[in-house]
Symmetry: C2
Subunit: 200 residues, 2 copies
Amino acid sequence: MAEVKLHGGWASPFSNKVVWALKLKGIPYEYIEEDLYNKSASLLKYNPVHKMIPVFVHGEKPVCESMVILEYIEEMWPHNPWLMPSDPYDRAQARFWIKFAEDKGVAVWKMFFSTGQDLENAMKAALELLQTVEKHGLGEKKFFNKQWLQMLGPISQYWLSRPSIWSHCRKVPLIEENLPNQHEMVIAFKRRRETLVTSA
Amino acid sequence: MAEVKLHGGWASPFSNKVVWALKLKGIPYEYIEEDLYNKSASLLKYNPVHKMIPVFVHGEKPVCESMVILEYIEEMWPHNPWLMPSDPYDRAQARFWIKFAEDKGVAVWKMFFSTGQDLENAMKAALELLQTVEKHGLGEKKFFNKQWLQMLGPISQYWLSRPSIWSHCRKVPLIEENLPNQHEMVIAFKRRRETLVTSA
C-alpha cells in the first residue's frame, strides 16, 4: 500500500472530515499541520490551483478538495463504508445536499466574518439556508447521512454557540475522539475573525 | 425498468449533458421542455429547492443538479461507461475539475450577462479561469474526459463565437446529432442577455 499523507489544519472542518474518514478506515497516515499564513512548499506544489488544505497525498499523487478526497478514500478503501448510502438513489440525494452545502455554505462563512448590515444580511441568508435543509432535506426520509450534518456543524458561529451540536458530534465515538478542542477552536476563529474584520 | 422523464430546456448545456448521457446509454425517456418563464407545476414539485432544470425523474423519484443526475445515470445504467474514467485516481482528478468548473464557471456566465467595466472584469476572470484549466488540467496527462471540455464550451459567448469549439463537438457523433441549433442558440442567448441587461 502506497504511503498516505495529509496536509491539514487542526481547526478546519474540511481537514477534520478527512481525518475522521482515515481513522474510521484505519488507514495509517502521516499528518502535516500547515501554517495557513505560511504554507509549505509541498502544499503549493501539490495544490497549485487552490493552494488550500486539505491535500491528500497517496504515493506522491495529490488529491485536493475535501469531498473529492472523501470519495477517493471510499473508492480506494471500500471497507467500513461510511461516506455514502449504499442505495444509488439515496446516494444521489446525499450528493445533492453535499453540493447544496458546498455551494450555499458561503453564507455561513460570511456570517462569521462580517459586521453591521453585512452581518445582518448574512445571518438572514444562513437562516434561510438552514430552514431549506430542515424543510426539504431532513424530512422523514432523512436523505443524507446524519454524520454529515454534524460535521458541517462546527464551522459556524451559530452552531459553535449551540452545545446541542457538540453533544450530537459526541454521540459518534470516532468523531468525539477526534474533535478539535472546542475552547481552542472558538479562540482561533475569534482571532481569525478579528484579523479579517480589521483588514476589511 | 421504471419510467424515465427529463424536464429540460433546449438551449441549456446542463440539460443537454443529460440528453447526451441518455442517448449514449440508449435509455428511453419522455422529454418535457420547460418554459423557464412559466415553469410547470411538476418541475416546482420535483425541485422545490432550486426550481431549476434539469430534473430527472426515475419512477416518480426526482434527481436534481446535472452532475448528480449524470453520476446517478452512470451508477444505475453502468453499460457504455462514459461519465467518469475507470481508474479511481483519474476519477478523483475528473471530479476536481468538474467541481472547479461548477464553482468558478459563474465567471463565464457573468461575462455573458454584463456590460461596461463589469464585462471587462468578467472577461479577465474567465480568461484566468481558462488559463488555469489549460495550465494544470490539460497537461500531458489530460486528466479529464475531453468530452467535458467540449460540453462546457457552448455555454459561453466567448466559445459561441469560436467555430473551432463547434467543430470539436461535431467530432463526437452522438453530441453532433444532439447539439442545439447554433444559430437559434445565439439568438436565444442574445435575447436573454438583452432582458437581463435591460432589467439590471
